[in-house]
Symmetry: none
Subunit: 250 residues, 2 copies
DNA sequence: ATTTTTAATATGTTTGAACATATGAACAAT
DNA sequence: ATTGTTCATATGTTCAAACATATTAAAAAT
């Protein structure tokens, strides 16, 4: 696409934001907007550095960050390319309810599914680290196996991602975020409690109020520990066990 | 600890592995082995670079990587410090209830504490991958904050570890396993449900039967995925929230 | 005593330059 | 045809040097 890469936007050398940051942002955008066919070679470091009027070192700082985030791949002689194999497969057993259920061979479907633009409440704002009242794309879902509702959840997405609310939320969520927005979740901070089902939750899950349900609140972060999603989730515990495997890092 | 940091090992300038890589490895090791008290300042970049005979740039490359991985924190004037909140990295706050509570500044004590040699039940045997009926060291505990029981749990230890039942189980468990038996837990497979407190559990936790409690069953595995411990655990959810941070495996 | 100013300092940014290294491709030898 | 050699090239490593910037702590002014 950028055979003559005169189309690549320039950087603002007078801006207060560092050049390597600008370069990184630009590259992220270019990749996100699919200006590089995946697997396609990037412009050479020397060329791109010259184009942007920055040193090769500075550019490498930017590229290095994207490589660490798994967006790019570098090969010695071959050059730098956009990573083909998305991480989505990895995510399956990690964050995705869809894959989680599929792995267990349990068919399920959405009983209810709404996407809205809501003002962030206090808790949501705090968890996403945004001002309270800011509009966030909110996804609400009830999922079931057979005809029994199994889980109710509400997700709030950080504005910086750029979700419009018009995306196809039927597909696995983290596949969407990865492929369309190049957002790759890395951390998940989870708070889990057993609570008695409130009137509202009980109605949604078609159980009697007071029944124990599993409440999970989680904040999903990217590699830079920037919040991606805040998610509140109630599982019917009579049908569902929350299973995770944790590996000690290092 | 490293007031005169002549104790920090040098780098091998003749090695084929890049210096920034060596530096990164060294730093990882030093952090892992707790040579820096958490929150403690790192040596200054200039000093450490001089000590290792590398340029500040090269050192920064190494540090930058650790920062991206969330092990270090950098502040402009203040210097670089080891991240305090290391839920994922630190073993203590990873599996240990003791440290978990201490980190939150909540004092607690054992209300009840028994160690026995029991025959493994069917479930326990399956999880520990041993024949049912084999004798296993079993630890039973009720722990509380103030006078309210908070958690009841039962732990079964794999026979190969060689526990006699006479060890000092008052100290943090994984400290004991590590130091005395060189068992290092690496994986934790957890199954979490919300259940209504049974008569037995309710009595132990001094709550009314039927109250929602958090049930966690977990199998702890070592690096070779051999079972170390099977643990069943009931938390009073009105007092306790189960918090974890999960990091995506590479 | 409190606020303001100033200076010191550790990290942050950026450059240009030099050399190392892996690898694909062209070429040569078997 | 297969193997080996050479060469060009894009990324990889490392350095020294300079200046920017945020923040703490000391000094000065109120």
């Amino acid at each position: 696409m950028f055979e003559h890469m005169n189309n690549i936007p320039l950087l603002d050398h007078d801006s207060k934001t560092p050049l390597h940051q600008q370069a990184e942002d630009q590259l992220r955008r270019l990749i996100r907007e699919n200006h590089f066919r995946e697997g396609d070679p990037f412009p050479k470091e020397t060329d791109l550095a010259r184009r942007w009027g920055i040193s090769r070192n500075t550019l490498r700082q930017a590229i290095g960050s994207l490589v660490k985030d798994g967006l790019l791949e570098r090969k010695k002689r071959a050059g730098t390319t956009v990573r083909k194999k998305k991480i989505t497969t990895d995510l399956s057993s990690w964050l995705s309810f869809t894959h989680e259920m599929e792995d267990k061979g349990i068919p399920f479907k959405d009983l209810c599914h709404t996407v809205e633009l809501k003002k962030a409440g206090k808790e949501t704002a705090r968890k996403l680290q945004i001002p309270a009242g800011e509009k966030v794309v909110t996804l609400e879902r009830i999922r079931s196996t057979g005809k029994n509702p199994m889980v109710y959840f509400e997700s709030f997405f950080h504005p910086r991602i750029g979700l419009t609310g018009k995306e196809n939320y039927k597909r696995p969520l983290y596949e969407l975020l990865d492929e369309e927005f190049h957002i790759i979740p890395v951390y998940s901070q989870e708070e889990i409690r057993a609570v008695a089902a409130s009137e509202k939750i009980a109605a949604l899950l078609k159980i009697t109020p007071g029944t124990p349900v599993l409440e999970r609140k989680r904040v999903v972060l990217d590699a830079g520990r920037k919040p991606v999603e805040y998610n509140i989730c109630y599982y019917r515990s009579d049908w569902f066990t929350y299973s995770i495997e944790i590996k000690r890092p290092l």
